[in-house]
């Protein structure tokens, strides 16, 4: 577990450094559209992806999944490229902010429509099974609010009916934009998973080691052939919905209750207690991550942006014979 813990922790530190940078760039007017942070979600995101094998498993990151992307093995350079619309990036300026993925390497390129990628992950895992690959798993991650979307419900049910090795992670940050959970559903989120017939797990998403253990058992169970898994990890979004939003609708009392539960600080404390991290190695890791973020953002900002005059304005790969 030590190796996974340290890998996940590094992904969290990297994601936090990246989020801090993109937030500043947004406020300076350097990034158009929106910037969406994973503050408060780092443990969940890193732990859900750290047990996946790139090139074998499949992964569908959600809005607040920078730490998951890092744990999966994608660099922050790719994220920076999508924010800046670099033509070197995998979306070439055709899609932006957190909407990127490398489908041929196993990550989906999410569309904005919440819930839509859960079925896509189901299909990717179904393809593996049809090709005789039985130990590959898929992780799809969604927010509490998204559990109320019809597409998400259809996908969860179909994953359950087809008994596919998919881990459905619900990052319960208690809000969907400004809407509290009480206005999204009138049940317990764990019961939603049980209702589909899924094996359900719960964890405190701000408790790094607990989240790591929970994701480990869920991924291991799916990989062992025990069917689809449902994980509800609870946290608080420790930022606005996007950087345009001040989250003033979240009561101060709730914010105060999470004041000393920043997953990054908790992870650091826990790792030091385990003797897996020291003040010095942590400082070195932080320097390494800040430098990499700095270099990646500078590079993405320098790279060419798309040229409308030479853009290939074709929406299909096949063109009719004439």
């Amino acid at each position: 577990m030590k190796e996974a813990a340290l890998k996940a922790y590094k992904a969290m530190v990297m994601a936090r450094a990246f989020d801090t940078k993109t937030s500043a760039l947004y406020k300076a007017g350097k990034i158009l559209g929106g910037v969406f942070l994973g503050r408060g979600h780092e443990a969940i995101a890193a732990c859900e992806a750290v047990f996946l094998r790139k090139g074998h498993d499949v992964y569908s990151p959600f809005i607040r999944e920078q730490a998951g992307r890092c744990a999966w093995g994608d660099s922050v350079l790719e994220s920076a490229r999508t924010y800046f619309g670099s033509v070197e990036g995998c979306m070439h300026g055709r899609d932006g902010n957190v909407h990127w993925g490398k489908p041929l390497e196993g990550t989906t390129a999410p569309i904005s429509h919440l819930g839509a990628m859960a079925a896509v992950i189901g299909g990717m895992v179904l393809a593996k099974r049809m090709q005789g690959i039985t130990d590959a798993v898929g992780v799809t991650c969604y927010g509490d609010g998204t559990t109320s979307v019809g597409a998400f419900h259809e996908a969860c049910n179909m994953i359950a009916v087809l008994k596919l090795p998919v881990i459905i992670v619900v990052s319960n940050n208690q809000y969907a934009y400004s809407t509290p959970n009480t206005q999204e559903f009138a049940c317990d989120l764990l019961d939603r998973g049980r209702g589909y017939g899924l094996t359900s797990h719960a964890c405190d998403g701000t408790d790094f080691l607990q989240t790591l253990e929970t994701m480990h058992s869920a991924v291991t169970a799916a990989r062992r052939g025990e069917g689809p898994q449902w994980v509800v990890a609870t946290t608080l979004r420790m930022c606005g919905h996007g950087e345009h939003d001040d989250a003033s609708y979240i009561p101060e009392t709730l914010k105060a209750a999470y004041a000393d539960r920043d997953p990054l600080a908790v992870a650091r404390r826990q790792l030091i207690e385990c003797g897996w991290l020291t003040e010095d190695t942590d400082a070195a890791l932080n320097r390494e991550c800040t430098d990499e973020v700095q270099r990646s953002v500078a590079q993405a900002q320098k790279e060419a942006t798309p040229n409308p005059a030479t853009e290939d304005w074709q929406a299909t790969s096949w063109r009719p014979f004439r």
Binding site: M117, V120, L126, A151, T316, S317
Partner: protein
């Protein structure tokens, strides 16, 4: 023994499953001995175990799973029980499958089979055509076969094309349209319209079940009034073969577009817009449209027949067009 339009579709799927291990079928009620609401997949699960998959009633998830399976290297053929219910998969088709190639450079090789169009008693929600709604989205090809051979070849081509294809198969044609064989010694490539009947006095542009109606109207006009009508079968509404349309209009100088869909913003409007923009000088009379009415599709057979263009309506519209 004559073969029907739906036999051709069954045959195409059987061959596709045989030829390519990446092909599989997914949809509601399609597996087992049942073989689908229209029996298009009857017997296929027994021949290809594990490759004909029954799903819950979840059109969005069926298309979403198809997208994922395509990304995983498979070539799914997805059946919507009725095209009308395909609207619940429209978001996945238009926004996810259709947008995917442009966004990522990775095309989605899926085929969405949509049993469409009216039948007597079908009513408002088992009769719609909807090709224009799907064609509206960039990144989708929309095929509308009107012959037994096209039903066979175009379904095979749909699966060979790496992009998402909406395959609109007309329910009225399923068992009504017959031919000696589905084979065509020289099948046309997708993207080419077909001159279904050559003529000189006016062009009628049609697709899907309106092609046989237009041909009947042409027969009627030839015997009743001596007019020779050219009938163009679009075959696919997207891509749309504007060249063949304009060439026909250049020969006849008059054009009527017939569509079973609702009038507002449909394929017929698109054809008229293209001809007006690119070939106004070829026209000796205003381009006309004949579509179904702008009401939901009625259930009673008498109302239904009056709601959609019939060969007599087409003949009347052509007479009017020639009088202008």
């Amino acid at each position: 023994m004559p073969v029907t339009y739906i036999d051709a579709i069954h045959q195409a799927m059987q061959e596709l499953l045989e030829e390519d291990p990446r092909v599989f079928l997914m949809g509601e009620d399609i597996a087992g001995t049942f073989g689908g609401a229209f029996k298009a997949t009857k017997g296929l699960e027994a021949q290809f175990p594990g490759r004909v998959i029954n799903t819950p009633i979840s059109e969005d998830a069926i298309v979403g799973f198809g997208i994922g399976a395509a990304l995983g290297g498979m070539k799914p053929i997805l059946e919507m029980q009725f095209a009308d219910f395909g609207l619940l998969g429209l978001n996945q088709m238009g926004n996810n499958a259709g947008a995917h190639y442009y966004r990522t450079g990775v095309p989605i090789n899926l085929t969405l089979r949509m049993p469409c169009g009216g039948t007597p008693g079908g009513g408002p929600f088992h009769s719609q055509s909807l090709e224009a709604l799907f064609a509206h989205f960039p990144g989708l090809h929309v095929f509308t076969p009107a012959t037994v051979a096209d039903a066979y070849y175009m379904l095979k081509q749909a699966v060979q094309i790496p992009d998402p294809v909406v395959f609109m198969e007309h329910k009225f044609l399923y068992r009504w349209l017959k031919a000696d064989t589905w084979h065509d010694p020289q099948p046309l490539p997708v993207g080419k319209a077909r001159i279904a009947r050559a003529g000189e006095h006016a062009t009628v542009i049609a697709f899907s079940a309106m092609v046989p109606e237009a041909l009947k109207a042409a027969d009627l006009l030839a015997s009743a009034s001596g007019y020779h009508i050219e009938v163009v079968d679009l075959r696919s509404v997207k891509p749309m073969d504007t060249d063949t349309i304009l060439a026909s209009v250049a020969r006849t100088g008059r054009m009527l577009v017939v569509s079973e869909d609702f009038p507002w913003g449909g394929v017929a409007s698109e054809v008229v817009a293209r001809v007006a923009a690119e070939g106004l000088h070829l026209l000796d009379a205003p381009p006309l449209r004949l579509t179904s009415k702008d009401t939901p599709i009625p259930s009673h057979a008498d109302l239904w027949k009056a709601h959609r263009p019939h060969s007599n309506d087409i003949a009347d519209a052509v007479r009017y067009l020639i009088s202008l």
